[in-house]
């Protein structure tokens, strides 16, 4: 019995909880990609770097707050800085839209052109981030690190295996639930939210119904910038902030959006968790887990790891390919909000 419990705690500690928080970060990122795709109708490759941009300002503001001796108690100071960084990122996104994307929108350029333009925006944003804060790896987490420590858990339960719950994991999951709930409420219940869905569904008919396209575009960037900054900050708090990581996280985020059905917000959330769980499940070494469960004679010799963690991006890619082969529209039929 205690072997079974030990095995489950082991999985919870190394697989379930980390995947849940990583999945939440991907879900928030994928939501931004999916909103841009659904409403503005292009694949925004600059999204990862928009996340980096927002996170960078959060870090700078965190340092500023810390230099004044302000902190957020047991919570990370970055959460105090986050709203201000979101505002800066929104302004940045709106400026980029006004001076870059709008030009192509008025010309009614094809989506491929938009995607190429977004790659340009990606490089510029990336450069801005590296110039301002540099390419180095930075940790900006402060406050209480653990909610439950391994030792405490062991003492409490008397089990061999410990369960550690990091505060960043709890923060990530609760903020994600909060934001996703607000976003869905906004899209389903409010007039502006409905007009965004209508615009995404059928642009011509939305125009004929008197929906103002400029307002829809502005609201989209508002939401996307807020989601991107939050996703970036949560990821950075959990791991660390490095501009290059934020560039490469674009792959699992796009995979999540496409797997869920690009353009579908619920799909983006589900896709985020699908990608996170598969990445971690495939690269986790199950040796200890089987030692607990199997009789001694059957104990595994190797690590029982399907793939080395170096290949975790290959996992998102493979899932992407499989989904595109089996169900090209994604788990939830994509295309509209």
């Amino acid at each position: 019995m205690s072997d079974l419990l030990n095995a489950l705690v082991l999985l919870a500690n190394f697989l379930f909880i980390p995947a849940l928080s990583y999945g939440s970060q991907l879900a928030l990122g994928a939501l931004g990609v999916t909103l841009v795709f659904g409403i503005l109708r292009f694949a925004n490759f600059a999204h990862g770097d928009l996340m980096a941009f927002g996170t960078m300002f959060t870090i700078l503001l965190t340092w500023l707050l810390q230099s004044y001796g302000i902190n957020f108690g047991f919570l990370p100071t970055a959460l105090l800085a986050l709203p201000f960084a979101i505002i800066i990122t929104i302004i940045f996104s709106l400026l980029v839209d006004r001076y870059v994307f709008r030009f192509y929108r008025l010309k009614k350029s094809p989506p491929v052109t938009f995607a190429m333009v977004s790659i340009g925006v990606m490089f510029i944003t990336n450069a801005i981030v590296r110039i301002i804060i540099g390419p180095k790896d930075r940790r900006f987490f402060d406050g209480e690190k653990f909610i439950i420590k391994v030792k405490e858990f062991k003492n409490l339960t008397g089990l061999n295996e410990g369960l550690a719950i990091k505060s960043t994991q709890v923060i990530t999951i609760s903020i994600t639930i909060f934001l996703v709930a607000i976003l869905f409420w906004f899209l389903q219940r409010t007039r502006t939210g409905k007009s965004m869905r209508a615009f995404s569904d059928n642009e011509d008919l939305a125009l004929l119904s008197g929906i103002n396209p400029d307002k829809v575009v502005i609201f989209t960037w508002l939401i996307v910038a807020a989601l991107a900054t939050t996703a970036g900050v949560l990821y950075g708090l959990d791991k660390s902030f490095k501009p290059f990581t934020y560039f490469s996280i674009l792959l699992p985020i796009f995979a999540a959006a496409i797997v869920g059905g690009i353009g579908s917000p619920i799909g983006a959330v589900v896709g985020g968790y699908v990608i996170a769980f598969s990445e971690i499940m495939v690269t986790y070494a199950y040796k200890k887990f089987f030692i607990y469960l199997l009789p001694e004679s059957l104990e595994p010799q190797g690590l029982v790891q399907l793939l080395s963690t170096d290949y975790k991006f290959a996992v998102s890619f493979s899932i992407l390919v499989i989904v595109l082969l089996v169900r090209p529209s994604g788990i939830f039929k994509g295309k509209t909000l």
């Binding site: 409905k194 007009s195 869905r197 209508a198 569904d201 008919l205 004929l208 119904s209 008197g210």
Partner: protein, 234 residues
């Protein structure tokens, strides 16, 4: 005194003129039907009157106001509603949300108008929580029609409202169109089902190759041997 007219309209997409010197007009409370062979420019003429086409020549007036240069959105604000032939509903949204979006420009209470639409099309009330994409072709046409009614238009433009629906649904739709016409809304529609459409119309136009070929009251056109031979199947 005309309520809404487009006079000597010439234009098309790209370089080719699809409509040439085409003139259509609707009077208040009238139902006007535009018929003609495929490719005659019927839909294009409608789009020209809605402002979805750049006219090289001609003038469009609504309530004595020159609206030739107005965008379609601004014309909608004046009280002109348009039901496109295809893609005329928000497929991913519920029936009720479709109606709400139709009333997007209004700031007053829209529930009364929604109830009126439900009275007109009782089946929509039943299905109000379903997404429009799940409905049958005829029901979708009703949603599209209802969405346009939500702006409380004084002029309704319909592009083939009965395209692709069964004869029973078609009769039903025409009945509703008459009902709406009786409330004082001017209606101009393009129709393939020429015989039925002309029989409910006050006036009709026959377009051929983008030009006016003939016009007259619905009955006149129905009785005209040429029109009978060409468009009504003898």
């Amino acid at each position: 005194m005309s309520y809404f007219f487009g006079k000597n309209m010439t234009g098309g997409y790209g370089g080719v003129d699809i409509i040439k010197n085409c003139t259509l007009e609707v009077k208040k409370g009238e139902i006007v039907v535009v018929i003609g062979p495929n490719g005659a420019g019927k839909s294009t003429a409608m789009k020209a009157m809605l402002g979805m086409l750049n006219l090289k020549k001609g003038i469009v007036k609504f309530k004595d106001k020159d609206i030739t240069m107005m965008t379609p959105q601004d014309r909608v604000k004046l009280g002109i509603a348009f039901v496109p032939q295809t893609k005329n509903v928000f497929t991913g949204m519920t029936v009720e949300e479709n109606l709400e979006m139709g009333a997007f420009l209004r700031n007053d209470n829209i529930h009364q108008t929604i109830d009126q639409v439900y009275d007109l099309f009782p089946v929509l009330k039943e299905k109000r929580k379903q997404t429009a994409g799940e409905l049958s072709g005829g029901q979708r046409q009703q949603v599209a029609f209802g969405r346009a009614m939500m702006t409380m238009p004084t002029l309704l433009m319909l592009d083939e409202p009965t395209a692709g629906v069964s004869p029973i649904v078609m009769d039903e739709l025409f009945k509703r169109i008459i009902e709406v016409g009786k409330t004082g809304v001017a209606i101009i529609m393009v129709e393939q089902n020429a015989k039925q459409a002309l029989s409910i119309a006050n006036r009709g136009y026959v377009l051929v190759n983008g030009e006016n070929r003939r016009d007259g009251s619905g009955q006149e056109l129905l009785n005209n041997p040429d029109v009978r031979k060409s468009f009504l199947g003898g």
